[in-house]
Amino acid sequence: MSEKRNKIFKAIADPTRREIFHLLILGSALSISQLSMEFNISRQGVTKHLKILEEAEMVKIEPQGRERFCYASAHALLEIKNWLSTYDAFWNDKLNDLGKHLDNMA
């Protein structure tokens, strides 16, 4: 497993971080204050989660005026999709193998 994927899995291992990421993917950019209000946790708490999401390159944080705004990066979704597609391809093959095996069964 790639180092990058490890970081993504670490990031999505926490339910609050998953929710932060979902919120950013679904909506537009949010400031740290907005996230702090949304999740009813301290700015410090939000910042800690964001740092882990940022390290996984799932979220980008950009200063705008006095606030810092957070954006979701779609690239991370692609990594997760690759993980799914491993299993997807696996089951495609296996269902074909099952079909072949059934044809050969007495």
Binding site: F9, A13, W83, L95, H101, L102
Partner: protein, 142 residues
């Protein structure tokens, strides 16, 4: 073959020109599962534990327990041993259709991670599982 990839599960439906009991046998009997899935001691009995082995050597790569096995629904947990505390679930459902059998397979929980799982998962990387990690790719790819 229809394919649906929801966020957290993989769902597949395929029709086979074989009787429902024959397909059920292929999914639940050790000698058959060993042929089409991977070398295994899998037995379609509720509560039975199983392991899938890599084709090349005797490395187990996936393990789990049969949760339900009543014709024609089969459910088992699926734990890839390179993410060994992350339990996913494989569910098979068979229905008779057009003189054959429609097989629906759902592999769910693929993105189910919690803190403990992740810690365990990353911890396990340094514990000599490496050889088996490589094998899982082999099973998944062969």
């Amino acid at each position: 073959m229809e394919t649906q990839t929801a966020q957290n599960s993989i769902e597949k439906t395929q029709w086979y020109p074989h009787s429902i009991d024959k397909v059920w046998g292929a999914l639940t009997e050790t000698k058959h599962v060993s042929k089409w899935l991977a070398p295994t001691n899998f037995k379609g009995e509720t509560g039975a534990k199983y392991e899938l082995h890599s084709p090349k050597d005797d490395c187990s790569v996936v393990a789990g327990v049969v949760k339900e096995s009543t014709p024609y629904t089969l459910v088992y947990s699926w734990i890839a041993l390179n993410h060994k505390d992350i339990e996913t679930e494989v569910k098979w459902n068979l229905t008779e259709e057009n003189n054959g059998t429609k097989v629906k397979m759902i592999h769910s929980g693929i993105l189910k991670y919690n803190k403990e799982d992740a810690q365990e998962m990353f911890g396990s990387f340094s514990n000599g599982w490496k050889r088996c990690f490589l094998q899982i790719g082999e099973v998944l790819n062969n």
